[in-house]
Symmetry: C2
Amino acid sequence: MNVTGAGAILQALRDRRPRTRSELAELSGLGRAAVAQRLDALLATALLAPVGEAASTGGRPPTRFAFNPDARVVLAADVGATHVRLAVTDLSARVLASDGVDVDIGRGPTHVLAWIVDHGRALLDRVGRRQDELAGVGIGLPGPVEFATGRPVNPPIMPGWHDFDVVAFVGSRFGCPVVVDNDVNVMALGERHAAFRDVDHLLFVKVATGIGSGIVIDGQVRRGAQGAAGDMGHVHVPHESDAVCRCGNVGCLDAVASGAAIAAQLAERGVPARARRDVADLVRAGSTLADQLVRAAGRTIGEVVATAVSLLNPSVMVIGGSLARAGESLLAGVREVVYQRSLPLATAKLDIVAAAAGDQTGVVGAAALVCDTVLAPERVEADLSRLTVAAGR
Amino acid sequence: MNVTGAGAILQALRDRRPRTRSELAELSGLGRAAVAQRLDALLATALLAPVGEAASTGGRPPTRFAFNPDARVVLAADVGATHVRLAVTDLSARVLASDGVDVDIGRGPTHVLAWIVDHGRALLDRVGRRQDELAGVGIGLPGPVEFATGRPVNPPIMPGWHDFDVVAFVGSRFGCPVVVDNDVNVMALGERHAAFRDVDHLLFVKVATGIGSGIVIDGQVRRGAQGAAGDMGHVHVPHESDAVCRCGNVGCLDAVASGAAIAAQLAERGVPARARRDVADLVRAGSTLADQLVRAAGRTIGEVVATAVSLLNPSVMVIGGSLARAGESLLAGVREVVYQRSLPLATAKLDIVAAAAGDQTGVVGAAALVCDTVLAPERVEADLSRLTVAAGR
């Protein structure tokens, strides 16, 4: 069966606006007979469903069709150094249920991924959905990932994960597509999905124990030639500190402005702070010193962000992560430097804001990544028969 | 007539490999009858032509079809501050004839563009092609351009050009599409077309009187939210100099490492050099001081390039412009800092090279931009009847 155009029809409907056959013919460039045939194929998958009635132009009102995000579900996992958040979402990345549990990533991939599989099944049960209703699984990992294969590449805080075939391990257990990306890319997607759906140029910077960024250009996360794009933490910044970075270089942004670096600066000044959480707690508790150090870190981060703004000309720059949630100081420091440094053409319409999506950013982004992958037009057309069989209930 | 898929067929054939009807059916996902109808439509435009014979599987050998880059021509203009280069190319951006003439951009858009129109017509005559065979005109301008409209946006060295409707002025005279972009984006495309056609992630840096960059990510030039992406010249760099940039800020890369900045540094040291050409001439003549200053400029540029490499993870970084052509010093300075600063994952497979395409980079890039625009699948399908009528000769 020729289904060319079915993918485009579904793609157009993902904006949630119902449309008539004529509107779909116009959108897809297909004739009426071809539209009818593609609609039948899509209706058989339940990804699309007829809805109410269109404004009549006389005679019988035409049926309208809409995307049905409940046709399938997505399992999303946001894996951190010591914590995993899981969620089941619909096909618009809306969270139906979620759960967060402490899991040590250092226990290795088979332990952590088996945990995700078990708890993922339990979470599906909780919302009353079956495993064969999964459209896909999305996983964000705290390290570099080769996106095409889903394999971690020498991830510094993930012993035992290098080159592990995450897709095969999880895919074989769930029997569905698995998409793996690094956590900051996934957070950038989650923030865009939650608050900036119409923004095509967005820079997301996460400031927690370390510093990283996710870059959305022309509506897509850009990962670069080896998937290393957005590696802001190891950009060199001019700084009086001679702190050595965990990468071995001196003067990396990570070594002078991350949560770990600020904790070390506090400890040097006699204030015990062992981790970024302590830093955030001190800021919230009103520590002037902690607040000053966080603001200074914001200015240093702002120097790198100013360069990124000149190079990429985004319209929104979002700052997230635990340090950004501790108050306004980090954001104020970033803004101070970026608006001073960058040219008016690049900053006149630039919004610099704190992340809005909170704890769920990662799982929402991982789910959005799965939806964009499995609902991509060419993928839908290739998978139609499989989708139809699986939907037969 | 339904021509959905005709654009995809033409797109697939742009790799110059001839294909049979069966191969095109497989590539496009269309049935044999649909492929035959799309082929007829494309053959009527001459954009596609039947060629030799395929290896026979017994019986009559099937006809193969290939993209015909001679079906139309492109006029390309690379406009500099004092010089315009013009070329007529085929639809694969191959230069058929070219010409360079001194023209002062300060005389304003109507003067410069009327010159381009007149000399463009003469150049078409020289290669024996008619104006109605033009597929489009591509123009690179030395300043910020709003790509969607082709209008310059407050270009600093182009008095009278702000917001001028270049597309309407040129398009009304030639009766064809006109694409306008800034000169560095066009050079990035030209360099990719000439030497790195399979490279999807390329950073091009031009070092001449000023410094700018063109960014290719996932195979496309990325221009950002307002078309200001790649503005490397006004990135702030740590430097002992307090030279004020023409933008009003202190410490911009342009103010400390451009051809103009090096000329000023030479003049301060008693060596008369008024412009980047003098700097390049001094380097070629063996001036140790000029060579040292150019290498130091390369290191300073390398600091910004290192940040761009961390953020974008390109696989090729090309350095061009008159200063790059003056010898190895600029490139050596850039390499020194980038390989020291960036993480192994981003530099292990990174080539840092001097531009290969020379004087023609700009016109080749402008022509490639026109070809990619007018031969884009949706554009081809929308324009098929116009293309067919115009080709009727």
